[in-house]
Amino acid sequence: MVDLLAIWTAVFFTLAIYSILYRDTAWYRIAESVYLGVAVGYGVSVDLLYVRNQWTTGGWSTPGVMLAGFAIAVIMGILWYFRFIKQYFYLYRWPLSIIVGTGIGLALRAVIFVQFRDMIVAQVRLNLWVPTNMLTTFNNILLFIMVPCVLLYFWFTGAKIRETAPMKVVDKIARYTMMAGFGSAFGYTILTRFSMFIGRAQFLLGITPNPPENRTAFIVLALLILGSMIVYDLFFKKKS
């Protein structure tokens, strides 16, 4: 019985979210609010679970440095909520600055290697002749030409140089490169969006390993939700 209730609830919320495809409906608003509420609630609960575990088995309750560190973290956590009190808003900036500072510091430590140095090294080491794989050879030659062209495209100084014939060729190659990149991104975006839809469609149709009872719930609830929207449009929307 509980399983059946869970199935009907899940199917209802899936269809309620999809009702936005028809127009902004009350079903969609309800599902959106419930989803956000559940997601935030779940997030808070797993955060607290982590803190509890660290307190009981992780040594955060050990008197000394660990306990002092935990106390400071709790105080910083409380300071976040001063965002909602105008008079003490400035206190909220302390934890914010610590979080942002720590995050940027940690990231910058490695960004220069991961996303800058290693990329340049990879570009320099491109093998322009791979006799066993002509497709890779062609790909590498394209990369050898295209990457510098796109970098030069975003070089904005030197107006006179930009107007020269070689730079116009570079600009053209860069534009084609970027259009190819955007096209690829668009294609993959379509793949992702439809994959997500297909996943939910498999759930609604009860395709294994989803429970077969889903299909009945799907048909009944789809008719009810669609019917309610059409009836509202026909009889109530005009009056309002």
Binding site: A122, T189, I198
Partner: protein, 279 residues
């Protein structure tokens, strides 16, 4: 010409209706279109197949419920493959709902059917809050950052699998299945670059253009992009699942998009020429 002009101003809800038809129809009546195996899925399969026996691997489901439709099939297939090999697996996530996703997987795949013992061959450490900061902390002190496991709430140090696991260099491979941030860039910054831990990444299609430079540079050793690659991988491990079942729908939905793009362009150019090219 009037039809083409009407087509240009078509209500977008007709496209949504077409999408439902093009997706539901092949799911209800499978076409059985062939699934060619591509380089990416072969690379992913070979990488996992060639992990030396006795290695310890981190498996990270770095996505929430919204990523399940595209990523769950590859998550299931990868775990089946890992559990079929003599490899130790540490499951951990830095996404709030990641642990929940793995629990759904445990409802469908039983590790004991592969002869795997919890705490000895694999462990579920659950979710660690703190994003990239937590990933850095986890690399420096694994059992200190996660003091208790997710499934039983027992101290992580009490499990045999964690006996020799202290810091990032004790890990032989990271397998991250992900939808966004934190994801492969954070793994690269906090694990791969400082500790030279190799990593392979399964990801949604949208992220593929972003990861391409890291594949080219060799920082990411292999990748599995999207639902179609998942289907290929399911076939490679001889366990067809939801991805294989969904490939017909992927093909048909893409065909629909291509037809609409072509028709849209024809309508655009036809209406422009009918107005003397002034549109």
């Amino acid at each position: 010409m009037a039809f083409l002009e009407k087509f240009m101003d078509m209500d977008r809800r007709w496209v949504y209706l077409l999408s439902w038809i093009f997706v539901l129809a092949p799911l209800l009546y499978p076409l059985g279109l062939p699934i060619p195996i591509n380089q990416e899925s072969i690379g992913w399969y070979n990488y996992i197949e060639n992990i030396p026996a006795g290695s310890t691997v981190i498996f990270a489901p770095m996505y929430g419920t919204s990523g399940i439709p595209e990523l769950f099939p590859m998550t299931v297939a990868t775990m089946r493959h890992l559990w079929s090999r003599p490899i130790k697996v540490i499951v951990v996530t830095f996404w709030t709902e990641g642990a929940l996703v793995f629990n759904i997987l445990l409802g469908q795949v039983d590790p004991t059917s592969y002869g795997k013992v919890y705490g000895t061959d694999w462990i579920h450490l659950g979710y660690i809050p703190g994003s990239e900061t937590a990933m850095a902390s986890f690399a420096r002190d694994i059992t200190g950052t996660v003091s208790a496991d997710f499934l039983r709430g027992q101290p992580t140090t009490s499990y045999p699998i964690m006996a020799n696991i202290r810091t990032a260099p004790d890990i032989d491979l990271i397998i991250s299945i992900e939808t966004g941030t934190p994801g492969y860039t954070e793994w690269l910054r906090q694990w791969q670059a400082p500790y030279a831990v190799p990593m392979i990444v399964g990801l949604i299609g949208v992220s593929v253009p972003g990861i391409a430079p890291y594949i080219q540079s060799g920082q990411v050793s292999a990748y599995l992009p999207g639902l179609t690659s998942s289907a290929e991988y399911e076939n490679l491990i001889h366990r067809p699942g939801l991805a294989v079942a969904g490939v017909d729908a992927v093909s048909m939905s893409h065909l629909m998009v291509v037809i609409l793009v072509v028709l849209g362009n024809i309508a655009y150019f036809a209406s422009r020429s009918s107005k003397g090219g002034k549109k």
